[in-house]
Symmetry: C2
Subunit: 119 residues, 2 copies
């Protein structure tokens, strides 16, 4: 069933990190790769799984593929909205991911590894 597929897709730490980041802004694969410090193929596969479950969508822009949260699913499965807005935000792990994204943006990187500025 669709619902179990959605739940299965959300039942993984890396994928929760991804949707949490996408809550902030749309990102391309290499950016997610850099922020989560995971391999390209691994991130790509996790993204594919989330997309297959209908949780995110992808959009090609020149050589990059940007991913974003599929807002339709938030109305179809309202628990996801609750999960993102009330649950995920509480967890240090996911707050940290957002902080890494902020650092990444601050340093104006484009698809490179995050430098530890010793914050």
């Amino acid at each position: 069933m669709n619902l179990t597929r959605v739940l299965k897709a959300l039942g993984d730490g890396t994928r929760l990190s991804i949707v949490n980041l996408l809550r902030v802004e749309n990102l391309c694969v290499c950016e997610i790769e850099a922020i989560l410090q995971s391999s390209q193929s691994n991130v790509s596969r996790h993204l594919a799984k989330l997309r297959d479950a209908g949780i995110i969508y992808s959009e090609k822009r020149s050589q990059w593929v940007y991913y974003g949260i599929n807002t339709d699913i938030l109305t179809e499965h309202s628990f996801i909205k609750t999960l993102l807005d009330e649950d995920l935000v509480k967890h240090p792990q996911y707050q940290q991911d957002v902080e890494k994204l902020r650092m990444y943006r601050e340093q104006n990187y484009e698809c490179g590894p995050i430098e530890n500025t010793g914050a």
Copy 2:
């Protein structure tokens, strides 16, 4: 992390059926077994997984073990409440399970298989 364990536990059709039934009333293993028409060991294991994730609790009453939804988790992870109240109830599959529970109660069975009354 705890959150992924909860989501993993919910990412299975049988286990969603179980929590959906327990939303209606507390049940023992053999009742769930009869209603979902699944094997004893299988149901027992699914229940264990849900309990390990903190979603349900168990309570021994003489030779039976009754399971119920752990209300604490509904405040800790508010998305579960949304999932149960707004999401699960919409799906025919889970409505059907509740109907089977009703039939089971109507026939006043105790831990036996459901008879198809041709409803």
